[in-house]
Structures are given as C-alpha cells and as structure tokens.
C-alpha cells in the first residue's frame, strides 16, 4: 500500500480508487474529494433525519463514515486516546450489485495513543460479500474482526449503548459506550456546509458518550474510562476542489459542554471556518466564521512533515480562549491515507480534553 497518498479521515473519501494507487491521489491532492459527483445522490438542506435508518449506510452517496474517538484514562490517571473508524466509498453510482460485483469499498482505521506511543492499524474490504458493512437495525458496523454493535437495550435516538472493539499486531481495545443525551445534528439541522461554494455533507454526532473498558498495548491491559465522541457523515462531494486539508477539533469541556470546530484550508482563499457549540443539554448553536480564531502556536516534525500540534483557539462571542496541547505530538496515522489524529487537552477560559485531526500536511 502506498503511503504517499496524503489523504485522511473523512478524506478517505478521496476514493479508494486510489487504494495503493497513490500516484493519482498524490497528483490530485484532495481534488477527488471535490471530484465530480454526478450520478451520486446530492446533499441538500432541509433533509429530515430518521433513526435508526440513518445509522445505516447511504450507498447512493459516494462516501460515508462512522467515526469514533475516545479520551480515556486508567485507574492511575494515565491518559489514553482510542480511535475506531469505518469508511465507505462507492466506486460507481447506481443500484447496488450483489456479491463481488458490489461497488462499495470499505476501509477501517483503528488506533490507540498514549503519551509515549501511538499505535495504528488499517484494513480494507470489498462490499457485497460480508467482510465489512453496516446494518442499521440491530445496529452493527464491522470490518474484519473490528466491530461496533448495539447492545440491548439499544436506543436509536442516542445510538447507545454500544460495544466497540479493534486490534492490531501490538494493541487492542474493547469499550462499552453509554449515552443518555440524544444525537446532535451538526451545521444546519444536519446539513453541514464545507465551503462558500456550497459543498456540503450530512453530519450528525453523538458527543456525549461515556466509555468504559480495557485497552491493551504490547500485551499489557489497562482498565480505562472516559468520554467518547461519534461523528456520522455522508456526502457525495464534500470538498471544493481547492481545499487542501483541514484541522478539526472535537472538544469535551469539564463543564459538560462540547465544541466541534474545524478549519478547511483553501489554496485560493482564506480558510473556511465553522463550528458547533453544544450545550450540556444537547442544544447546539452554529458558530459564525468570523467569531472563530484558530492559530497554530507550535509545530512538531512528524513523518517528515511539519504539523501544527499546538493551537490557540478563541471564539469571540462565547468568551472562549484556550491553548491546546497534544497527548502525544507524534500521533501520526501512517496509513495508506496518512494524517494526524490524536487526543489533546486544553486550558484557558475552559478546560477539558478532546481530539484533533489534521489532514493534507
């Protein structure tokens, strides 16, 4: 598998067409995320979400993901991060074909992070034969032996409780996720705009998970607990063609509030900034672009690239000013589509933990 492809998270989207086929992905950068989506279903405002159906796949859209990050700590107070991600990509629009002819390709990423180490693994699968997939009810998302499944009594409104597990050669984890607050529709009632030119995705989250379970690194297990955040997003053309990457934050405040915000870097103009302030009660408010300030304060060289691992973030109308510090500045996902993804903590007007994802570096 080529490691040259500088793609990422949500950006696996670039098309598994580029699976190991790095040359193309490299040449076009993120362009494929902004590639022509003709034939695939469009993303339009005003869609009504329905659960549990929307927990399942939307094969008419080109790309989709189930994305979970957890900030954990063991009984000794050591901090950990865990990531579980399943990506789906359709190679062709049109009705779903059975068996090997199915046009879906699936990619799984799993990682754990500790202050002194970061472990990750990836796997790929074709759709149609059962190696990977997502069922809405009973909820189950899986690729190979990694899975995320609903436990009884599973609530569609909270997508909880869930059991997730994944393992690589030198790490593994099994976590139970519980949540009592309902899902949060990001952006405009789940319609999340990604550029001034109208690129968008459907996007909802469950930021209120509590997590409990075990995490293993090099055969040593630890009992861990903490908070987790799930993002669900699907689209057919989420990025504009000049968008080169993003810096994406998901923050848990000690107060119980949450903040999701990101910056999409654009080669031809100023970055596109947006975010959602989620109250402890689950109420979410979209932040205006000009109220957000995101400034790197320090960079770390990881895998031969310079990454802004320390940030200053301010939201003017919320009286919010924080400095973020990564748990492990080397949280590099050296997967086929490589990116930085790791737990962070922050101090300032607010304190808490969260996850940072940086792509396109």
């Amino acid at each position: 598998m080529s490691v040259r492809a500088r793609l990422s998270r949500r950006g696996f989207a670039a098309g598994l067409a580029a699976l190991g086929f790095g040359g193309k992905a490299l040449a076009q950068g993120f362009a494929e995320l902004g590639a022509d989506a003709s034939g695939f279903a469009a993303v339009t405002p005003g869609r009504r979400f329905a659960f549990p159906a929307d927990h399942g796949p939307h094969p008419d859209h080109r790309i989709e993901w189930w994305y979970l990050t957890a900030n954990l700590s063991d009984t000794n107070g050591n901090a950990y991060g865990a990531q579980w991600t399943l990506f789906r990509q359709a190679m062709q629009p049109g009705p779903q074909r059975d068996g090997w002819a199915n046009q879906q390709i699936w990619m799984g990423h799993a990682a754990v992070t500790r202050a002194d180490t970061h472990r990750y693994s990836e796997t790929f699968a074709r759709g149609g034969v059962g190696q990977a997939g997502v069922d809405a009810e009973p909820f189950r998302a899986w690729i190979d032996s990694w899975q995320m499944r609903g436990l009884d009594p599973m609530s569609a409104a909270t997508i909880a409780p869930l059991q997730i597990n994944a393992s690589g050669t030198d790490f593994g984890y099994a976590l139970r996720l519980d949540a009592t607050r309902p899902l949060v529709l990001e952006g405009d009632a789940g319609y999340s705009v990604k550029s001034e030119r109208g690129q968008a995705s459907y996007y909802y989250s469950q930021p209120f998970f509590t997590a409990n379970g075990t995490l293993t690194i090099d055969g040593k297990s630890a009992n861990v607990s903490g908070r987790a955040w799930m993002d669900r997003e699907w689209s057919s053309q989420p990025l504009a063609s000049d968008q080169t990457g993003w810096d994406w934050f998901a923050l848990h405040f000690e107060s119980g509030e949450k903040l999701m915000l990101y910056r999409l870097r654009q080669s031809r103009s100023q970055p596109y900034l947006t975010g959602n302030w989620i109250g402890a009660n689950g109420q979410s408010i979209v932040l205006s672009a000009n109220s957000i300030a995101m400034t790197p304060t320090a960079t770390t060289e990881v895998a031969g690239r310079k990454l802004p691992t320390h940030w200053h973030i301010a939201v003017r109308d919320r009286n919010f000013t924080i400095e973020t510090v990564p748990l492990n500045p080397a949280s590099w996902m050296g997967t086929s589509f490589s990116y930085w993804e790791g737990p962070i903590s922050f101090t300032g007007t607010h304190r808490g933990v969260g996850y940072l994802e940086m792509t396109g570096y």
């Binding site: 086929f21 068996g99 090997w100 699968a125 074709r126 034969v129 059962g130 190696q131 032996s145």
Partner: protein
C-alpha cells in the same frame, strides 16, 4: 597519469604486433564469459519466471489455506476475516481461449497480501477499473500474442463466457490470466466458490482455524507445497555446473595466451624498468591492461552469452515445462546485475588465469639472470607437486563420494575427479613418453620421444583442456544415450493402457464407462485414482491401479518381492517409486505409513519401480483399497485397453459424445510422443554446452600449438642442418603432436566413463532421485576419439604448413641469432 598512459601504450603495442595472441586471449575470455553468462542468463530467466508464477500462484512465498476439496465456499473467507485472519481469496481454474488453455486466476486486490508481491499494475493504476465491471483480464505480453489479440480486446472463452478487456502486465507468467475473483467465479461457473486463501501479515489476534473452518481448510506453510524453485534447483545446478566447466576450459586458453604474452614481453618489461619505470608503476599498469582486456572481452562475451542463451532458451524452457510445468517466457530479459556479474566473472577469471604470469613478472629482477638449468629443475619440481595435487584431488573425490550426500557434493566429486585427472595428465604423459624413449631404437626415434617430452610443458594446458572437454563429452554422451535407451522401454511399461480418460465428474465417468462396456473393442476398463499427500514433508502422489495383467506384465519394477502384485491387491502393500525409496531410505519388505482421510495406512513395500523425471514421490496401491481410503476423491480417471486398430475411431467417438478435450482424453501414442519429446529436450542444453566446450578445447589446442611452433625453430633447425628435409620435419612434428593428443584422448575415454558413472550414479540420483542403468557405447567412444584426432590435426595444420613453407634463411637465422 600521463606516464601511466605511455607505459600502457608500450604494453599494448605488443598486441598490435601479435594479433593472433590477442585474438587467442580474447577468444578464450570471450568464450569463457559467454558460456558462463549465457547459462546464468538462462537460470536468471527461469528464476524470474518462477517469481512471476509465484506472484500469481501465491504459492510457496506465502502461507495459505487450501480446501479438502478443489473448491470451498466463500463464506469461509468471510468467517475467517471476521475472526481476525488476514486472508485473501483466490479462485483458480482453466479456460480455453482460441483453442489455447490458460490458467485463470481470480484474485481480490483489496485484501491481496502485499508480501505476495505483485500485481503491480493493479497497484499503480486504477483499482477501480480492475474491480468494477467489466473489469480487466491481466495477461503477460506473451499470452497476448499467443491468443493473437490486442490490448483492450474483449474475448470470449471457447465455451462462450465473456472475458474482461485484456490488459498487458509484463510481470505475469505466460499462460496465466488474472481477473477479479468475482469475474473468475462467473467465468468458471463457480459462484461463491474459492480455491484457496492466501494469508497476509497478521493483524492482531485471530481465532484458531478449526474453530472457524472445522476441517474444511488445511493450513499450508510457506514453502511446504511443492515449489518450482526448489524442484528445478537441481536442473539449474546442472546447468550452472556445465557453465562453470566451460568457463574453466575457456580460462585454460586465457591462461596459456597470457602466459605466452608475458613470457614474450619479459625483455620489454626489463627494458621499461631499465629506462626508469618503477616496479609499482609497471605492475599497476600491467594490472590495468589486464582489466581492460577483461572488460572488453567481458562485454563481447556477454553479448555472445546473450546470443547463446537466446538460442538455447527454447530448449531450456520446454524441458522445464515438460519436467516441472514451469512456464518460461520465450524472450530473454536481462538485468543490470547480470551484466555486472558477467564482467566481474570475466575480470576474476582473467586475474586467476594471469595470476602466475603476473606474479612472475612482478618478481622478475630487472636484470636477466642466466640460469640454464633452473627452468628444467623447476619444471621437474613443479611436475612433482602437480602429481601430488592430482593425487590429493582424487583422494578428495573418493572422500566426498563416501561422506557427501547432497547434489553439491555430487558436483564436487565430479570437479575433483576432473581436476585431479587434468593435473595428473602431464605426469602420466611424461611417464608414457619416458617408456617410449626407453624402448626406442635409433637416434631419430630416441629424439622423437625425448623431444616430445621436452614439448610437453608447453602443451600440457591445452592437453588438459582437451582431456576435460573429451571426458565430459564422453560422460554426458554416455548418460544421455543410456537415458534414451532406458527411457524408451520404461515408457512402454508405464503407459500400459491404450487410452487415458479423466472425466469431468463422477457422473460423467459412470456414463462413459457404461457406454464403453457396450463396445466390444474395449477389452478392459481400468479405473485409477490419484491423491496428493505428503510423506516426510515431501509431496507424494498415491496412484490407485486396477489389478490387471496390463500392469502386472509391464510396470517397470526395479526390484520386487515375490508375489508383489498379489500383496498390492490385498491392500496391504504398495509399490514405491525409486525417488521416494531413495529419499526415505525405503527397502523391499519395509513399511511405509501413509496418512489418509481414513487415518494412517501402513503399507508393506512390495516393489520399487522406476519413475523417471517425476519431481514428486509416488506410490502405487490397489484401486479398491485406494477408494476406500480416499473416499471423497473424484473417481474420474480410468485407462482402457482397446483393440489396436480401433483406438482412433473410439477416441473420435468419445470426443464427440462426451466433449472431452485432450487434457481429459488422450491415447497412449500421443502421450508417449509428448513424453519422449520432453525427455529428449531434458539434456539438449547439456549436450549443446558440451559441444561448445569441445570447440573451446579445440581452440585451446590450436592456440597452444601455434604458440609452441614459434619456439620450436631452435629445436628443429639442428635437425634440418644435419639433413632432414622440412617436409620430414613437418611430418615428425605432426606425428609427435598427434601421438600426444592420441594418448590424451585415450586417457579421456576411461575418465569419461568414470564421469558418466558419476553423473548417473551420483549426480542424477541426487538431482532427480533416480538412477539409470549405465550403458557403454563403444561406437560413440570411437567417434569421439576420431573427433579429438581431427581437432588435433586441424590445429596442427597451420603450424605444419608454416614449417613446410619456411624459407631456409629463417632456419639459418636460428644459428646466427644464437649467442
């Protein structure tokens, strides 16, 4: 630097004045490099194609899971993946396209383990195009031209199934078509079925295999399966050994040419030193000169090597395919490493051949010392050492024969034997000539013998080359002849039935048998079975044969216990192939444990039979016992005895009625012809290399004689002065050389038979596992003797003609020059 160039120019001026010497040197080096690198090119070509084959096979390099039956459900693949097994599915089958049979491989590129190497184009180009209908059919360039289609063409199989558009993939083995696993399932009409699972790098924990697949799948560790490379190793070692031999014979020429050149240039070297060239500078320049020659000759040699390899490739390819089923593409591809290795070999060879001369030149004092007897004394001492070395070599050969057990040790014996004999040659010849001298009457006869002995040192290298080439020729010739004689009778025994049938499935087999029973010309239907097992880590075929006179009368038993066939019929005994018996050290009356689905099967060894050319082991058991022990195997194979003149019409009928192609239905004579063809080619390359070697030895002899003839004048002039005519002198010279060559050739004959014995009883047994009876072919020996004499005569022609036409003045000058 400039000084060095001037010195080099002076050194090189010698070659301009002695072009024949240069030519000899170059011919020696070129032929040595050419033969060696040609063989290497062949080996490399074959190995590359094994890699290509392995890449798609996924065999041998990577662990895999195989089914008990030929295919299994794809659900097992999913279950294993979900249990943490990093497996990738493969479905394999055969398709016929335009009358040609291709191996169709369905792979799954997304899970395909990276360490299996290579389906490069899928990696670099568009995965999507490969997977998404219509997909792509990847083929080697050779396959594309075989089916006569252009890239991008969409073909149908002969059965009518639509293939994806063709795409060329240079790394693929010829005769293979790679498609997506889903496409393969459609084309082969095997929906949801897989042939095997390749196991990639483990990611995390995985459940035990049995917990998921029960006993439906079997784990095959990398390399445990028969591996083309391992199977063909001995074949390539064989080639390499002969390549090396040719290289050595070539070096004999180089050695004599360089020796002469240095000898002649000694005064020049002294003058250079006297005129102020330091010894370090001179030695450096001599070395540089040698390396230049090596480089130039090496390059030409490589080109010739390429041509030789290209000429021999079809034979090598067909014997490899015939013997091992390995497909070698017909076009040579050469790597930079090949060029580098060839040049290095040329350089090392040159250095080795020049070592003594170079040392002599380096040690030579600036001033020539007059030491008239020294040379002869050294010669005597040298001969003594050489005799001792020869003795040591022969002792070593015997020691290795007793101790060694590998193929390498087989070749070591051969090498020690040949080298020992070569070293012993001058001693032996000297002995013969001394006897001649002692029994000679009359001064001329006395002089004849004495002078022959005097001439010996100058000729000995060429004679050694001749001895080696002849001996190897005798050896290989005897082996090949023995082989073809044995093979013909053996094949008659092994292909006992008249017609061989392999039905598509059990039902068809029953149908065919039913219809055949109604035909009077079919005198017997002999069902047979075949299972692949492993004994002691070695792949073994179990053959189930009917108890029938067809086999009882003809099966090529080498040794057998009384009532062997009766014991086999009882199901308690087996016949064991020679390879297996040797490999496992089995003896008549011994026992052999065979693991079957039905449990262990302990068999008595009733007989050992010849199974030439089979890289696997084989045992023969009774068909009824076989079917009860291997109940799940298809019962599709059987042989027929048919009234001779009815065979052809019967086959035509069966083809029409049951749609059986030649892979499923064939007659004895066709099989026989094919087998004979394969085996005839097995040693073609060896024989061809042999001929080259003999040619090189001839050249060695010629050049040595040419060289010698120049220094002969001072010896001949006195005879001329006392009244012998030039013609008489020429006659004597000719007679002397021919008689020395004749003695050499005579010595080569027993040596050659020894070599043949070594090849048949040691090398072949270790390389292939079987031993041929040794036949001696006196006519063949006489023929070679003739060839040797002819070669010597041809080599003498030029010097003798020169002597006859030599102006008396040249002879007189000898006296004038004498100081």
């Amino acid at each position: 630097m400039k000084q060095g160039l001037w010195i080099l120019a002076v050194l090189l001026s010698h070659w301009r004045r002695h072009p024949t010497q240069l030519a000899t040197l170059l011919v020696g080096l070129i032929s040595a490099t050419a033969l060696w690198s040609g063989v290497q090119a062949l080996n490399q070509q074959a190995r590359t194609s094994y890699d290509r084959a392995a890449a798609v096979f996924g065999g041998t390099r990577v662990a895999m899971l195989v089914g008990r039956d030929s295919t299994f459900s794809q659900k097992l693949f999913v279950d294993l993946r979900r249990a943490g097994w990093p497996v990738s599915p493969v479905l394999e089958g055969r398709v016929r396209v335009g009358g040609r049979s291709l191996r169709l491989l369905g792979i799954e590129p997304v899970t395909f383990p990276a360490e299996t190497g290579t389906i490069p184009s899928i990696r670099t180009s568009d995965l999507q195009t490969f997977i998404v209908p219509p997909g792509e059919a990847l083929v080697a360039p050779e396959t594309l031209s075989q089916v006569g289609a252009a890239e991008g063409a969409t073909l149908r199989t002969d059965e009518g199934a639509m293939l994806p558009p063709l795409k060329v993939q240079a790394q693929l083995a010829p005769g293979v078509m790679v498609v997506d696993v889903g496409v393969a399932q459609r084309i082969l009409h095997l929906p949801g079925q897989l042939s095997r699972l390749l196991i990639g790098q483990t990611r995390g924990t995985r459940a035990p295999l049995e917990a998921i697949a029960g006993d439906k799948l079997r784990y095959v560790a990398p390399d445990a399966e028969t591996d083309l490379e391992r199977l063909t190793d001995s074949f390539h070692l064989n080639l390499s050994a002969f390549g090396l031999l040719s290289f050595l014979v070539g070096l004999f020429i180089v050695n004599s040419a360089i020796g002469l050149a240095f000898e002649q240039r000694m005064p020049m070297l002294r003058t250079l030193r006297a005129c102020g060239v330091s010894s370090r500078m001179l030695n450096g320049t001599l070395l540089a000169e040698l390396m230049m020659v090596a480089l130039v000759a090496g390059l030409i040699g490589l080109v010739c090597g390429y041509l030789i390899a290209a000429a021999l490739l079809p034979d090598v390819a067909s014997s490899l395919q015939g013997l091992y089923g390995a497909r070698i593409p017909g076009e040579l591809t050469l790597t930079p490493q090949w060029w580098a290795a060839g040049l290095a070999m040329s350089a090392v060879g040159t250095l080795a051949a020049a070592a003594t001369s170079l040392l002599k030149a380096i040690r030579a004092p600036v001033l020539a010392m007059a030491q008239p007897y020294a040379r002869q004394q050294t010669q005597q001492r040298w001969l003594g050492w050489q005799g001792l070395a020869a003795l040591a070599m022969l002792v070593a050969a015997i020691a290795v024969l007793i101790v060694g057990n590998s193929l390498i040790s087989g070749f070591a014996i051969l090498a020690a034997l040949l080298l020992g004999a070569a070293l012993a040659l001058p001693v032996l010849l000297g002995f013969v000539l001394r006897i001649g001298e002692r029994s000679a009457r009359g001064p001329l006869a006395m002089w004849f013998w004495a002078d022959s002995r005097e001439q010996l040192p100058g000729l000995s290298l060429a004679l050694m080359a001749l001895l080696l080439a002849l001996a190897v020729n005798v050896g290989v010739g005897t082996m090949v002849e023995s082989f073809s004689r044995t093979f013909a009778t053996w094949l008659d025994g092994r292909l006992a039935a008249d017609v061989y049938v392999n039905a598509r499935d059990d039902a068809q087999a029953r149908d065919i048998q039913t219809s055949l029973r109604a035909r009077p010309e079919v005198t017997a239907i002999l069902p047979s079975g075949r299972a692949e097992i492993e004994i002691g880590g070695w792949p073994v075929e179990v053959l189930g044969l009917a108890d029938h006179a067809t086999y009882r009368d003809r099966w090529p038993l080498l040794e057998s216990a009384p009532h062997a066939w009766d014991d086999v019929r009882s199901g308690r005994a087996a016949l064991v192939s020679e390879q297996l018996a040797r490999r496992l050290n089995l003896r008549l009356g011994g026992r052999l444990d065979v693991s079957t689905p039905d449990g262990a099967w302990s068999l008595n060894i009733a007989a050992i039979y010849a199974d030439y050319g089979n890289p696997k082991g084989q045992i023969v058991v009774n068909i009824d016992a076989f079917t009860s022990r291997f109940p799940n195997l298809p019962r599709t194979r059987f042989g027929l005895r048919v009234t001779p003149d009815k065979i052809a019409p019967l086959i035509d009928d069966m083809r029409k009625t049951f749609h059986l192609d030649e892979s499923r239905l064939s007659d004895q004579s066709t099989l026989k012809a094919e087998s004979t063809q394969i085996f005839n080619r097995t040693f073609t390359v060896t024989a061809a290399l042999n001929t080259f070697t003999l040619g090189v030895a001839g050249v060695a002899l010629l050049t040595s004689l040419l060289t010698l003839s120049n220094s002969r004048l001072p010896y001949l002039a006195p005879l001329w002065a006392i009244g012998l005519t030039r013609r008489q002198l020429a006659g004597i010279e000719l007679l002397k050389t021919l008689s020395i060559a004749f003695f050499t050739a005579l010595l080569a004959l027993p040596l050659g038979l020894l070599v043949a014995w070594c090849l048949i009883a040691v090398v072949n047994v270790r390389a292939f596992g079987w031993r041929l009876p040794l036949h001696v072919f006196p006519l063949h020996l006489a023929e070679l003797l003739g060839v040797a004499m002819l070669a010597s005569l041809l080599a003498m022609l030029v010097p003798v003609a020169r002597l006859i036409r030599m102006p008396p003045a040249a002879l007189i000058k000898v006296f004038a020059d004498e100081r």
